[in-house]
Amino acid sequence: MAAVHHPDHGHGHEHEHHGAPSGIMRWMTTTNHKDIGTLYLWFSFMMFLTGGVMALTIRAELFQPGLQLVEPEFFNQLTTLHGLVMVFGAIMPAFVGFANWQIPMMIGAPDMAFARMNNWSFWLLPPAALLLIGSFFVPGGAAAGGWTLYPPLSTQMGMGMDMTIFAVHIMGASSIMGSINIVTTVLNMRAPGMTMMKMPLFVWTWLITAYLLIAVMPVLAGAVTMLLTDRHFGTNFFNAAGGGDPVMFQHIFWFFGHPEVYIMILPAFGIVSQIIPVFARKPLFGYSSMVYATSSIAILSFVVWAHHMFTVGMPVSAQLFFMYATMLIAVPTGVKVFNWTATMWQGSMTFEAPMLFAIGFIFLFTLGGFSGIVLAIVPVDIQLQETYYVIAHFHYVLVSGSLFALFGGTYYWLPKWTGHMYDETLAKTHFWLSMIFFNVTFFVQHFLGLAGMPRRTPDYALQFADFNQISSIGAFGFGLSQLLFLYVILKCIRGGEKATNQVWEGADTLEFTLPSPPPYHSFETPPIVK
């Protein structure tokens, strides 16, 4: 973004909040986008560790064939809750945390458009998390039908399922309010001169993500509401005897579910699009094509949902339609990958931790995209559905995709947020450990899936033992490496080399015109963007 004028130098006037609350009350009542962003990020990190413990328990059980650690029922609860906690508790809130911190600063706004509602969006999450985690401790245990909550399993389980349903309702309300806030902020709060096509890509991708969220979260709410009434009030939406159909749930769920996976990746695209140009010291290649690609992905994501259901039985014409529509998404996705690569082409690159994660993202996310294309091919998917191949696919796009982008984004903006440089050596170590252990964990799962190992099972045939052992070792390595991440962050918050305003040599977005750390209220008077 071009040169920037500050009408008010130094932001001398702090708001005189009469008796602004301190201590815990500050965090419970805050209307400040930076505070709320911090809350989101810490919450998501805690959920990440919680979901991680579940994952490691799963991998410990799968270390050898046979049942050793946990009961099969509990194993199913773990896989279900691992998915729900990671999707709704870790990845999504983390991106909202980034949106809160960054969007107002990147478009030169004083805060989010609805600052008080913003607080509520966050504080709805802890009750939802309590419902989810608490469901382990009620009779019958947590939901165990998979994170997709398919009936008839989900219409049969105990009250853990009801707690999950209400948790989904609450998290949905939180997401919708958060998204309305983001859309309104982006559309209405930009500094003078910040036209839509000058917005940093992170802002663009979040605008489109928020639109997706507003469109599909209510559909999920509807789906789980029908589950609830089927369970307790005698409706027959998902019961053939009453004229309904369990497959209908899958249609409604995936109408939400596929856009949902893009909700988890589009902001990651945004973060990577911020990082790559800075460390390649070249402007982003094909800015406008990035915007159009993001929009096309969002639109197409509404017409591909049935690729998750190729084996439930559907007309061949429908299979063909959903196969081609799915493959079509690879085109705009490819545009993005090529643009990032072209941005690096002949750039004067350096490889600090954010850049390492961004490049790791490009490699591994693309691999996940490829396995996605493989799964989109109907005859192949009929063999691979519900196998470990699918698990491998979505961990490549979600862990080495979304999560790596989150790591990269954290290192990229941490100096801005804390005012200190993080420990580069440790951060690079974190990257390499994550990179290696991630692949050790998940690459072999492709082979397991191709060989026919089903997902969601606590026990398996002997021939799968070797790859499972490798995968479990990788998983523990990956999990432990994340403690290093925590350590780097804490160390950076407590001190370290002072960060300059610009932090990174090539950084030119608005937040890098502010001091590091930025004042509590930034851009109370909007900057003029030229």
Binding site: H17, M28, T29, T31, A109, D111, A113, F114, A115, R116, M117, N119, W120, W123, L124, P126, P127, A128, L130, L131, G134, M159, D162, M163, I165, F166, H169, I170, S179, I180, N181, T184, L187, N188, M189, I214, A215, M217, P218, V219, A223, T225, M226, T229, R231, F233, G234, T235, N236, F237, N239, A240, A241, G242, G243, G244, D245, M248, H521, E524
Partner: protein, 283 residues
């Protein structure tokens, strides 16, 4: 513009959101326990709802005061407009899920269950619409469109006119007509709710049409039920606006509170037209 309103209004720290979260914590656990018939659930639910009502009341009172104190400049006003529009869009998508379920059951699953392949399983199921389902033997009579539902359509459409009349009066600063227009809208709204309640009683006692009556019953009650719930919310919101009008709130050029509620009212109106056509009429 003076210094006060030149700036975008960012509210000071507030306890309303966290109060609402505590309410939802109680409500979430309360609802989960209640549907499983654990007595503590009803208590938790009651406490939760009480806190929620307290919060909604307090929060909106704060916003109304801020508005009357002139803290919202044009940019804030525009934010409210965007926010309300997207909120209504999310509501549209919520109803879309249930309309989608209606479509799926009517056009796909019920015909499938009565086709040749399923004859071995369900020899007596004729399919068609309105249908309950092959495993449900209890008969019911569907709800016809031309009695009470048509009258209800008339009520809601008229209320759309009266709320527009009130809006027009507000812009011309004709407070008398504004009050009448709003009053009539609220009256029509509550009349509609009364008619719906009567219709449900009629359906349960005379038509044997129940929530448990398979495909037709489930879609009928869930769609009309959620709509009725939204009409109730809308009518309450209109009542709040009416009280604000009585105490002199809103100006001809500055009255988003009024407009937001009237948008919402038009939205429930439009949903009703969809219901009238697809749930009542096309049987």
């Amino acid at each position: 513009m003076n210094q006060e309103t030149a700036r975008y209004y960012v509210p000071a720290p507030s306890t309303w959101p966290i109060t609402g979260s505590i309410a939802l914590l109680f409500m979430g656990f309360g609802a989960a326990f209640s549907v499983n018939k654990i007595p503590a659930g009803y208590w938790l639910l009651t406490i939760g709802f009480s806190i929620l009502f307290y919060m909604i009341f307090g929060w909106f009172r704060t916003v109304a005061r801020e508005s009357e104190a002139g803290k919202f400049n044009d940019q804030v006003d525009k934010s409210f407009r965007w926010g309300m529009s997207w909120f209504i869009f999310s509501e549209v998508m919520f109803f879309a899920a249930f309309f989608g379920a209606l479509y799926y059951m009517r056009v796909l699953s019920v015909p499938w269950l009565s086709d040749l392949e399923h004859k071995i399983l369900w020899p007596d199921f004729a399919g068609g619409w309105p249908a309950s389902g092959p495993g449900i033997t209890q008969k019911f009579t569907p709800m016809g469109p031309w009695g009470l539902p048509a009258f209800n359509t008339f009520l809601l459409l008229t209320s759309g006119v009266t709320v527009t009349w009130a809006h027009w009066a507000l812009k011309l600063n004709k407070r008398g007509q504004l009050k009448w227009g709003l009053f009539l809208t609220i009256l029509l709204g509550f009349l509609f709710i009364g008619c719906q309640a009567y219709e449900y009683m009629h359906a349960y006692s005379e038509l044997d049409l129940k929530l448990t009556s398979g495909a037709y019953g489930a879609t009928f009650y869930m769609l009309t039920g959620f709509h009725g719930f939204h009409v109730t919310l809308g009518a309450i919101m209109l009542t709040v606006i009416y009280c604000r009008v009585l105490s002199g709130h809103f100006k001809p050029e500055h009255h988003f509170g009024f407009e937001g509620v009237s948008w919402y009212w038009h939205f429930v109106d439009v949903v009703w037209l969809g219901l009238f056509i697809f749930v009542y009429w096309l049987v």
